[in-house]
Amino acid sequence: MNRSSLRFLPLLVALLWIGSTGAQVDRPLRVAITGDEGTLTPYTYVTGYPGYELMTLIYDQLFLMDEELVPRPWLAAGLEIVDDLTYVLTLREGVRWHDGEPFTADDVAFTIGYYQTHPLGRFTSSANRVADVRVDGELGISLTLDGPDATFVEAALADLPMLPRHLWQDVDEPRAMAEAIGTGPYRLVEARSEQFYRLEANPDFWGPPPAVGTIIAPIVRDETTTFQALLAGEIDAAVRPVPAGSVASFQARPDLAIAQGSGFATTLLILDVTRPGLDDPAVRRVIAGAIDYGRLVDLLLLGFGTVGTPGFLHPDNPFANPATAEPPRLSPAEARGVLRDAGYLERADGTFAFTDGAPEDAAGAAPLAFVLLAPASNPTRLRAAELIAQDLAAAGIAVTVRSMEVEALTQRVWPDFDVSQGRDYELAVFGWSAPVNARANLRGLLHGDPAKGTLNLAGYDDPEVNELADRAVATIDADDRRAVLWQLQERMARDVPLVPLFYQDGVYAYRPSAFDGWSYMAGQGILHKRSFLRR
């Protein structure tokens, strides 16, 4: 580098410095999201949170959950449930799509049909509950279900984003349809893959006026980068929960505020109950009892979480059974006692072995040992696996932790996302997203028929539980349904088809000077439609 170019160096530095104040003219709300959400249409968004919530700023549902998870009329002005199978809806008047076309009952009928014929996990299964649709004028529509469904309002009416018929009717390949046009309070103005989304308030929105003019959602994959950007003032909020270790330092900052609430996303230990050893409820009870849940919450979440309940449902869930709120606890000595009573052989080194009817043959007996899989990219789950292995070793069950890349692990525990294809694991640290818990989808977790128990990764199959699970879905009356769900939770506590470890609290940080209207959606977080509408 010669002298003349060196002379420009201070100038360059000065220019870069000036640039830092010049770039921020308009101050839209900047909310970092976790990954690319496609073109933000119902067919291309990726994550349930925040993707679905971002997408439904553009698209509206017929009902909208409030912060306490009660569905409220939204595009539908009224609903009459004539009998268990017939739902008659009246739509709101004067609603228009972003392109000015009116929203009518034809759009609703089209949307349901489209989800039925163009498979998409979340929407197709609930749309498929509708056996018949009858349009009655511009704003009336009547739906007939194929069977009673207690969760139809939450899982279908409050979930399905409405599609504009005039734009989608000729679309064969829904993933290629990139035009994000809905009736919602925000319009998608710009989308750059892996970079950001820019949404602007819809001036013609039919409902409460949008509270923020422009929302920018930059994509920041990395947790550390996200919060460094928040600390450095480059973003105003993040949809990720603040890592437990940093909550204290965030709380101490005058420019940031914290919104905290329950989280329904469940971290759990799943097990293949068809394997030798794990097919024995006594062994499963020892596993569930030996884990120090309090230590997991204390060390991994620094207390910002709730210990898992054996009945799977979060204690704040309206259907949670108070009798199964506490995880079972067995001291190492008690755990060993249970294993001895169940006929396992305690060896000199403190481990247990299968006896296979030959108690004296200690040397040749197969050890009671399992491999525990944990996703390599998820440090919290890896640490959980590490601690669980220590707990189980104390109880006499040898556990080897193996980390696997997350898609590879999913392929082992849930091949092609189809439980009828079986499974290839013993123990694994896994997780279910908030909706599984919020909707109390215990049938999905427990039913032995793969068509019904679509989330049953354990291979658990019990005729009584199957019958209860069917009833939980078909029972419309809230009190009756709760009674059935309570019974199911008691069965889960006794049989241990899965071991819920903890629910991580949502702790969200934001810059109140940029926007202070956030509301906390129970079990989920601060990014949802109601946060961005004036009350």
């Binding site: 010049g22 291309t44 996990g121 990139a178 920018i216 460094q228 996302f417």
Partner: protein, 323 residues
């Protein structure tokens, strides 16, 4: 002419093998792209619907058929549709490529210029204080983990001192035209480009120094000196020009290395380049993007090699005369 044809044939062969790897490896990875095709709640679909979906994306065809189609499509530039991003692969790459080129290009430029100048001076003043200092820092810098350096840069310059932005290639909500945008891009470029430059600095420097030492010991340089030509002209006119020859090869080789190294740097700074695109595609089993991006990387590295082959005769007077 025959030599050129042979070279082209060899490059073609290498390309074919590399493309075969590109096809086979992603599919050999355990896991499936279904999560991105059917959304997060893919578990709620019935097996029949899943089968439908696989058929739609051609995932149910025999591998051989997929392979043949892939070869033809890739060469025709029909790279298909990203499973994860919901847009054509070519478009996704077009959006990201300029940023990788900017990052890699600026790093390559700085590293090459710096390496050549420092290498020349170090060799000229061999054993001197500059030589010793430059040589030890080159080896030292080479030993630093790139991602570690990048993370420390962010922690110090972006978060603690707030001098430069933490992530991205530009401010999405800022002015995106004229000088403010150029400045904004430059500010975002400083840290990642510095990191990548440091990671590739020592290669050029060491080769330049070595080549200069070699040239300075040659007869014609001694003759020039003996003829009483000014030292400056000897060094600049003769030595540097000839030493640039091996350096040019290294620069082109460096290009391939930089594109790979850019993956880590882009990840650390959330820079929207091809590297992060590729990394995300691996995690999501996004076969079309993997194939498209790998194809592009392979072709660009091959092109760089071919350029090195082509430039070599131009730079080396002996080869020119002989050829």
């Amino acid at each position: 002419m025959a030599w050129y044809l042979g070279r082209v044939g060899q490059y073609g062969l290498v390309l074919l093998v590399a493309m075969t790897f590109n096809f086979a490896l992603p599919r050999a990875m355990p896991g499936s792209p279904l999560r991105y095709l059917a959304g997060e709640d893919v578990g709620l679909l019935t097996p029949a619907q899943v089968a439908d979906l696989r058929a739609t994306y051609g995932l149910d065809r025999p591998l051989a058929a997929q392979y043949v189609a892939y070869l033809g499509d890739t060469l025709r530039g029909a790279w298909g549709f990203s499973f994860q991003l919901g847009k054509p692969v070519a478009e996704a790459i077009r959006e990201r490529l300029p940023w990788t080129l900017l990052l890699v290009g600026s790093s390559l430029l700085v590293a090459t210029a710096f390496g050549i100048i420092a290498g020349a001076i170090a060799a000229w003043r061999r054993g001197g204080r500059f030589d010793t200092a430059a040589l030890s820092s080159a080896i030292l810098v080479d030993a630093l983990p790139t991602f570690w350096l990048g993370m420390l840069f962010v922690a110090v310059f972006a978060v603690s001192w707030r001098l430069l932005p933490v992530f991205g290639a530009y401010t999405p909500w800022g002015d995106r035209s004229g000088w403010p945008f150029v400045l904004d891009v430059a500010r975002h470029l400083v840290l990642p480009a510095t990191t990548l430059t440091l990671a590739s600095l020592s290669g050029t420097f060491l080769v330049m120094r070595y080549a200069m030492l070699d040239v300075l010991g040659q007869d014609y340089v001694r003759t020039a000196r003996a003829k009483g030509l000014p030292e400056r002209r000897v060094v600049m006119g003769h030595a540097v020009r000839n030493a640039l020859l091996p350096v040019s090869t290294v620069v082109f080789l460096n290009l391939g290395f930089l594109v790979g190294g850019a993956t880590v740097v882009e990840t650390v700074f959330a820079y929207p380049g091809v590297g992060t695109l590729l990394y995300q595609a691996v995690l999501a089993r996004d076969y079309p993007v993997l194939q498209g991006a790998f194809f592009m990387l392979t072709v660009s590295v091959l092109l760089a090699n071919a350029l090195a082959d082509a430039v070599y005769p131009l730079l080396d007077p002996r080869v020119r005369r002989g050829g």
